[in-house]
């Protein structure tokens, strides 16, 4: 439940200390419409968007962070390259309505204060229930009178929202205001940003699933220090060592898995099956994931599940994370935040005892680290102030703020090359280097209308296989039948599918045709 509901909404500034420092420019609620001449000098506001003001004090001390050791590149940081005076002259005094998950209303309000000062645009927050964000958002869209201009949401829904025309293309704005799109890794730009060849979103929370190992246990089994690329080169090897690690200590299981009903199981299976070379659809949108590669993936997951923590069949992100950070498992297959949050002593029992490795390979398969979940930021087609909305979203997703989110380990992750390759950032985010290098080969499920339903249906079948109710073959075949029905309902098998395969294919596996990195 946890990660899904809150993914796109933990913007930043969860720690009120940092927020307090920024709040000097004036409170969101009391902001009147501003004349351009009233606004303070942009440079001074930008100077306050800094490590010393945004990153938690205890983390700053722990890692020796300071403004002299920047974790981003100013030349790629949109807020520092855009011409704020131009923004002000064109849009000062206007209002943007931003749909925000209810739980994050306050942190969003605090975080947007500098934006209002920089641009002269007033932001009105529209709280939307987290649990029924999808339903409420769509209901608003359909009514033709959406009460918001901009929204951030779970990126697998991009197809569901873009296909019926609920969102407006952003290509023109991105060009006009020089959004550094090329700084995004291809997989994020293509999958979180584009639909059917047009840009609809700015990637926000940029995810990847990875494999993490406990150093102590793994070194014991492997007989030496861990080499991130070579120590666990294949999934067969991972199965072997998790079986061994399972036996070392009574309370510690070999591996943690996300096996709960719904999309959690889907993601775990997609993660492994992608390494086996699995693609979800062929060029006519027929489901082909129940072929050999998909089967190999599910069989591998089943083998891993023998060494998994006893509660894996009910583990969503929250349970899996708690078990990993609490030290209950010797390895974990989950998002990159397992690698970052485990570094923080206030959250983790396993500080300094873990490492994130490169994706293990499967013989006959490919190297395809999975870009799974994530969230994106979009503008509604009925927006009253689309350009202002775009600018606000560009502000929220700018690389400096995203880098500092990562430093705060609050679960919102950057997707910029300039950030993930930055050595200072890598020092405070353990998985960053492996993560960055993996992204050029990433696999990703296409953003299609109906994808949310597809992920649920698949996951329920896979969960049944994981607990032994049905065989792997039955699970994938049932899944294929269900997916086919959903795709059919969404018009994929008619004369004009809603999504063009050729336009979407590059994002499905950006590693195609690339040489292996090592």
């Amino acid at each position: 439940m946890g990660k899904f509901d809150r993914l796109s909404r933990r913007t930043f500034l969860h720690n009120s200390v940092a927020a307090g420092a920024v709040g000097g420019v004036g409170s969101l609620l009391a902001t009147p419409l501003r004349a351009a001449s009233d606004l303070p000098d942009p440079a001074s506001i930008l100077a306050d968007i800094s490590i010393s003001k945004y990153v938690r004090a205890d983390y700053r001390d722990l890692y020796g962070m300071s403004d002299d050791k920047p974790i981003w590149d100013d030349s790629k940081d949109w807020i520092r390259t855009v011409d704020w005076e131009a923004v002000r002259s064109q849009l000062s005094g206007t209002t943007v309505r931003f749909a925000i998950g209810a739980a994050d209303q306050e942190s969003a309000a605090e975080g947007l204060v500098p934006f209002e000062a920089l641009s002269g645009i007033t932001v009105e927050l529209v709280p939307i229930p987290d649990d029924s964000f999808y339903d409420k958002a769509v209901a608003e869209f359909i009514s033709g009178n959406a009460s918001f201009d901009a929204l951030q949401f779970f990126s697998p829904w991009l197809g569901d929202f873009a296909a019926p025309g609920f969102l407006i293309p952003l290509d023109d704005y991105a060009a006009k205001w020089n959004l550094p799109l090329d700084d995004f890794y291809d997989t994020y730009r293509l999958n979180y940003g584009f639909f059917n060849g047009q840009m609809f979103g700015i990637p926000f929370d940029c995810d990847i699933q990875m494999v993490h190992l406990r150093k102590g246990f793994a070194e014991q089994i492997l007989g030496g220090p861990i080499d991130k690329w070579n120590s666990v080169p294949t999934y067969d090897e991972l199965v072997r060592i998790t079986a061994e690690m399972d036996k070392i200590e009574p309370g510690v299981a070999g591996v943690g898995l996300l096996g709960a009903r719904g999309f959690w199981s889907t993601y775990t299976w997609e993660h492994v099956a992608a390494q086996a070379g699995m693609m979800l659809f062929d060029e006519n949108w027929n489901p082909i994931f129940n072929g050999d590669a998909g089967m190999k993936g599910l069989e591998t997951v089943l083998a891993l599940s023998k060494n998994a923590i006893e509660g894996f069949a009910g583990a969503g992100w929250g349970e899996n994370r708690a078990a990993w950070l609490g030290g209950q498992v010797a390895a974990n297959i989950s998002w990159q935040d397992s690698g970052t949050q485990a570094m923080r002593p206030d959250q983790s029992q396993i500080v300094d005892d873990f490492v994130t490795i490169y994706e293990p390979r499967i013989a006959g398969g490919t190297f395809a680290p999975p870009n799974i979940a994530g969230s994106t930021s979009c503008v509604a087609s009925t927006a009253q102030n689309p350009e202002g909305a775009f600018l606000m979203l560009a502000f929220l997703t700018t690389s400096s703020i995203m880098a500092m989110n990562e430093a705060n380990a609050n679960g919102v992750a950057p997707g910029y090359r300039s950030v993930l390759t930055n050595p200072n950032l890598q020092a405070v985010s353990q998985p960053a280097e492996v993560w960055g290098k993996s992204l050029d080969y990433a696999w990703c499920a296409p953003r299609l209308p109906g994808m949310f339903e597809i992920e649920q249906a698949l996951g329920n079948e896979i969960n049944r296989a994981l607990v032994g109710q049905i065989t792997a073959r039955e699970a994938l075949d049932n899944g294929a039948a269900a997916v086919r029905a959903i795709m059919d309902r969404n018009g994929f098998y008619g004369s004009e599918p809603p999504v063009d395969f050729a336009a979407t294919a590059p994002g499905m596996w950006v590693g195609k045709g690339r040489d292996l990195p090592f």
């Binding site: 339903d135 019926p164 309370g251 719904g262 969960n463 607990v467």
Partner: protein, 315 residues
């Protein structure tokens, strides 16, 4: 004193002047017969509003395929799909199994405890301890047992210390174990509820019948079984009906503890409807399920409620 119409049960009304005698009597008669209906009308109307409107709306919506782009007529398609839906029948079965076992267990335990408690004034003072589980919110109770069984492994640990098992138990991977966790949570919270009802019933029973049986040499268990228990029948019926209704709608425990794992075998009908409606957004189908359950419930209500209360409290 002038008598009003024989239909009235309340006796005499006001004295009216002779001139208006005939008309006044008729008006009074109407007012008097109407009066009890008027008293009960607000409650009935309120309930009708909350049950009738949603019921009609649900029936209407269930005849459509509800998509975001619009509603398309589907006729009985949703119902046909329901009939063939393995998950629906599984959810129904799960509800009956989990609910049935939990209810039976609660009743048996509550009777056992009540039997031992009702004769003892010492226990009365400590009664409040028995009530404690019932006073927590159901979501809190669900978290207690989620932590104890699954995340925090407390139950496994205690069993390991007792030497009964050698490794942490995977409650969520086994159909019956995960059902058991739901049953334990429900029994823990609600046995007290039945307990105090049964104790009250036992304590109010006539002493003399017991005395007589005792003088005849009967043992306490025999007395309980042959005399007290049968006399408690209406009370047991009330309790079972009340709890049975709530158990058949078990939702919070499922949502917090298992979400239906493993493979849907702990998915109760409530959770199933919620999942269909709010996770697949298929509101037409969810309404069809609701309508079917509504009809089933009405039928059961007619049968059970009438039987349970016929023998009980009707004056």
């Amino acid at each position: 004193m002038r008598q009003s119409s024989p239909l009235s049960t309340t006796g005499a009304g006001h004295v009216a002047p002779d001139i208006f005698a005939a008309g006044g009597r008729r008006r009074r008669k109407w007012r008097r017969t109407l009066f009890p209906y008027l008293l009960v009308a607000p409650a009935v109307l309120y309930l009708l509003m909350i049950t009738l409107y949603p019921g009609v709306y649900a029936i209407y919506q269930s005849l459509f395929d509800v998509r975001f782009q619009g509603w398309t007529w589907a006729g009985t398609a949703n119902y046909e799909r329901l009939w063939n839906d393995r998950e629906f029948w599984a959810a129904l079965g799960n509800t009956l199994i989990i609910g049935g076992i939990a209810l039976a267990l609660q009743c048996a335990l509550a009777l056992l405890l009540a039997y031992h408690a009702y004769r003892d004034p010492f226990v009365r003072g400590w009664r409040i301890i028995f009530l404690v589980p019932m006073l927590f919110m159901p979501s809190a109770v669900a978290f207690i047992w989620k932590l104890a069984f699954n995340d925090g492994r407390v139950v496994s640990d205690l069993l390991m210390r007792a030497g009964l098992v050698s490794d942490n138990i995977g409650f969520l991977s086994s159909v019956w174990l995960s059902r058991m966790t739901l049953i334990v949570a429900d029994v823990w919270q609600w046995t007290p509820f039945l307990f105090i009802i049964f104790v009250a019933a036992l304590q109010s029973q006539d002493e003399e019948v017991e005395e007589a049986a005792r003088l005849d040499g009967a043992s306490w268990p025999a007395i309980f079984w042959n005399i007290s228990l049968p006399m408690m029948r209406p009370v047991i019926a009330v309790a079972v009906v009340l709890r049975g209704i709530d158990i058949s709608t078990m939702f919070a425990n499922v949502m917090i503890m298992t979400q239906g794992t493993p493979g849907g075998s702990t998915e109760t009908i409530s959770y199933f409807i919620y999942r269909i409606g709010f996770k697949t957004f298929n509101f037409g189908y969810a309404s069809a399920i609701s309508v079917v359950m509504l009809i089933a419930t009405i039928v059961i209500a007619q049968v059970v409620v009438k039987r349970a209360f016929r023998s009980g409290s009707t004056p």
